[in-house]
């Protein structure tokens, strides 16, 4: 839980981590596409939590299901769609065996691009 600024700080921290990862794994053929997508999601989720925290009254989701509900019902539809897209992709990346062989470089770039541009 935190306010808008706290979530932005955390998002920037995660962005720095992504930059560090990109320096070591610049592509075009990524070694860890699953972790790139996961970091992208954790950037996005901090911006989204920041937006929810800045609502009146502020919303502080306690779990994913609650956050899903808040996002769908309080944020612009396209932003909610992009957040859900990133969330499902990062869960696929984390939980499904061999996901690293099934996430294309193009998908990684799209996910990173979404995280850095759609929620800021």
């Amino acid at each position: 839980m935190g306010n808008l600024l706290a979530h932005k700080r955390k998002a920037l921290h995660n962005e720095n981590f992504l930059t560090m990862v990109q320096r070591n794994d610049p592509g075009p053929s990524f070694t860890y596409p699953d972790w790139m997508v996961t970091v992208a999601f954790y950037i996005g989720v901090q911006y989204v939590d920041g937006k929810l925290a800045s609502l009146t009254p502020p919303l502080h989701p306690q779990n994913h299901a609650e956050r899903n509900n808040y996002v769908a019902n309080n944020l612009p539809r396209l932003m909610a769609r992009d957040y859900f897209f990133l969330k499902q992709k990062s869960e696929f990346a984390r939980y499904i065996p061999d996901s690293e062989t099934r996430i294309s470089d193009n998908m990684v770039n799209r996910c990173v691009n979404l995280a850095l541009t759609r929620f800021v």
Binding site: H64, N68, R77, K89, F92, R102
Partner: protein, 160 residues
């Protein structure tokens, strides 16, 4: 006494009542055997019918339970939306801690299709605000479904 007389006498001593067509005990035995076989056949048939009725009742109760479930309208709505996305091959759901977990299976990674599914999820959650959802989209490739779909999942949609 001649040899022929002896033979005739021997024949008279052998009781042939059970081989006779007039033997009441034998005919009762066959009647009862036939009756028993018939009854056993009937019992088998009744057991089969009872088993199929039991299956039908279980199926009916499961359908009624699904129809009465508060999740049914949401699941039904999701089915109607998801079936129009050609890349979706299957969809399942299971409920844990009052959260409806949706699992959407696609043939392979597809940015546009996954975006469309994500948009459908936004619509679903906006319409059914009182329910809690979680979800995952899995590009299947050559993975077996039983490796990725939990056993207690229920089918929402399956493209044949």
């Amino acid at each position: 006494m001649t040899a022929i007389d002896e033979e005739v006498e021997t024949e008279e001593h052998i009781p042939k009542i059970c081989l006779s067509i007039k033997c009441d005990a034998l005919s009762r035995y066959f009647r009862e055997a036939t009756l028993r076989i018939d009854l056993e056949r009937q019992i088998r048939k009744l057991k089969e019918e009872r088993s199929s009725y039991r299956d039908a009742i279980d199926c009916l109760l499961a359908m009624v339970k699904e129809l009465m479930s508060p999740n049914f309208p949401a699941v039904n709505f999701f089915r109607e939306r998801i079936k129009d996305i050609p890349k979706v091959t299957q969809a399942y759901y299971f409920v844990t801690n009052e959260v409806i977990n949706l699992l959407v299976i696609t043939e392979e990674e597809d940015f546009e299709a996954e975006m469309e599914i994500a948009d459908t999820l936004v619509e679903l959650m906006s319409l059914f605000k009182n329910l809690r959802f979680d979800f995952m989209i899995i590009p299947k490739y050559d993975t077996r479904l039983d490796e990725i779909v939990p056993k207690d999942s229920q089918v929402i949609f399956s493209r044949n």
